[in-house]
Symmetry: C3
Subunit: 306 residues, 3 copies
């Protein structure tokens, strides 16, 4: 009965029928990450990258009381220009569908929808985490427990350095979430390849990552994996360059009394300005990089599942 709620695009429906690799993509990056038409252009570029790597992209969003698994050109254009879009997570996805509203899926909601659609792999930019100051604010993203509950391998470039990364890693360890650095020992920090923290696990091939997810499923363990894929060298903003911008943005937020849900958008905008736009260029590069790895892992899962 859940399947009635899912509306597969023709492209995704064909991939499902053929049993070929599919990579889920989120939609808040489209509705809340960039202005139109850059958002739609970036989304199309990411989808094209996945196709080029032999997999099918499935951008996920909520519209008209259903969950779209894969957007048509028209739907992507509509979403890119939609107003008053709900940014949905585990807490509000049901309400959004029930009221027929337009919803853009965060990492947590995209994982839920991917799982419902039988998609094992989801490529994104960064995941939410434990916010700086969470020891007193208790502000922790719903993305973190979701990784412990929903069986989807999420490829991200780590978590943004505006978060508290040591606490984010501790939280994931407590929840039993595998955190896998790809091709290096260090946990990457979104714009930078190295956060200065060691990742709990390291894997160097898509095959190994796929095997670990399949083994987790065989063990009957719920939950997915976080693959922390470092941004390509040529696109990174090294820690020594990005950290001063982050510190300055944080100081300004505090000085100006920016609080609660306004903090993250404020910080990202200020980092964009302070890096003269490099942070956005890096952001697009890392999403493309994650899409490539996501396609490779999705193909491996299809192959290993046999």
């Amino acid at each position: 009965m859940t399947l009635d709620l899912l509306q597969f695009s023709p492209e995704v429906a064909a991939a499902r029928a053929a049993g070929t690799a599919i990579v889920a993509l989120e939609s808040t990056i489209i509705t809340h990450g960039m202005p139109f038409p850059q958002n739609v252009e970036a989304a199309r570029a990411v989808e094209a990258e996945i196709r080029a790597q032999g997999a099918t992209p499935a951008t996920i969003a909520v519209m008209g009381g259903r969950i779209l698994i894969g957007l048509t050109d028209q739907q992507l254009d509509d979403l890119g220009q939609a107003k008053a879009v709900m940014k949905i997570s585990r807490a509000d996805i049901a309400a959004c569908i029930a009221r027929g509203a337009v919803g853009a899926t965060t990492v947590a909601a995209t994982m839920i929808c991917a799982r419902l659609a039988g998609i094992d792999v989801f490529a994104t930019g960064g995941i939410g985490g434990v916010h700086r100051g969470a020891e007193t604010s208790f502000d922790i993203s719903a993305d973190l427990p979701e990784l412990g509950e929903t069986a989807v391998t999420v490829i991200a470039a780590g978590a943004k350095a505006i978060l508290d990364l040591p606490k984010t890693l501790e939280y994931l360890e407590t929840k039993g979430v595998p955190v896998i650095a790809y091709g290096q020992d260090a946990f990457p920090a979104f714009w930078s390849r190295d956060s200065g923290l060691k990742a709990p696990l390291r894997m160097d091939t898509a095959a190994e990552i796929a095997a670990a997810q399949l083994m987790r499923t065989r063990l009957g363990l719920p939950g997915g994996q976080l693959v922390a894929n470092p941004i390509p060298v040529e696109s990174e903003i090294p820690r020594a360059e990005i950290n001063p911008a982050i510190e300055q943005a944080l100081a300004e937020a505090e000085a100006q009394g920016i609080a609660a849900k306004e903090v993250t958008p404020f910080l990202l905008q200020r980092i964009f300005e302070l890096t003269e736009g490099r942070s956005l260029v890096s952001n697009i590069a890392l999403v493309l990089n994650n899409a490539r790895l996501g396609a490779a892992i999705a193909r491996e899962i299809v192959k290993q599942r046999g």
Copy 2:
């Protein structure tokens, strides 16, 4: 085999057979909230309100190695005068049943029992939350994770303002719990209609709340919803009046070295005294108000489920 553990009252058994709306009620309010006989009188008034709204009340408690779903007049009288009643939550409900003790169900335990009995809606006063000082005490009610795991819609007047409400809302967001203010934008604060905090979701009809719970179930998401129903205007103690009493009670608790599990009963007793009994009158009014809304939501769920 679980059903053997449930003992339905004749009234609830009849409602189940007829497929009509049922609203669960907890029993700690009876055993730990008020003295006899006011506790039994209040419980009967709440049950009567649910019947007047076209639904069947099911007060839940543990006795004689079984879970009572609906109490007879005699059982309610007995419970209202029982001594040494365990106040049970998720952690100790099994032990209480196994040892044949009398147990009064908190929000978490009532949710568990309601779910076992197939009851979708539960009306109460306030829920437990993140305690003030939890950043160092780690004192967080088991009611909060329960809302993320057990599929029951809980109607409460928010959480008591003696708790840390901003942290409580953050915790619920992290756990993916829908928090729905009924008929207003603000999250209510038990005795007051407005906590000063915005609720994540707002719904204005029982039908919308019922639809959201049914959609959550269709999505295969575990967990329920918290409906935060503001106390009626005529019964509220506005923030400007109740907050000084809360602050004074907190200061006295600290000065007198009241700690751990003694804090909440001490605060409630002092607030009762400082408001010259108004806090208890408000408490009964808001439970009746929640019972009314619970009945309406329960009827909507029956109707929509078809």
Copy 3:
């Protein structure tokens, strides 16, 4: 298909076929707790104690892409001398199996494997907990949420007093984990019989503990129970003696800048030195004591299940 991953020793396979009592044991105590050959000697002594109490020991470890449920003499010797053994928890057990590495199971991982193997009871020394300083480090063992999710009764001598015990009890209460002191009211503190904290539940017989676990299962509640079994009087190091050693070790760790994962091994080594080896003698005594109680509970579960 999960069962393919399990390799039962001949002794455990026989017990399963006969339907007799089995007690799971962890393996990090072997690989990370003591040097060879004392580790293997201690492990054999614990196994012998379980056999003497009429149950079958099942020491659990990961080797060769499978989960060993019960080790042969040869496998135990090999594990006792193995190098570069992964210390596995929920987050990395799947990766360890998938890559064919050798893994020693912590409390969380042993619970997962015991559950897969249909073993209800697991005896260990102490469980992980909330670390001191967790209010800023967020360092909380994955053992704690595991107790809320995986249906295994764990017998431990409480949690080590190097942890933050009040926070550990609060965390377990929030997660709905039954914490049962055996034969006394106080929650024990590993080397000492009394932590100064009251346990939420007290049970005086193996039969009562077995009945509570079976009731929890009947209720459909996931998760196990923590049985906190005080160290025998003759082996305990009373609080007044052990606490100064703990305080000194903590102070030295801070002075020397010991951080993160190095803290616990450093503290245990210093406490070993400061107590002139008594802490290790106590440790072995309490594990044997837990093995005895574990066997009694396992036999009761077999009996009550009928």
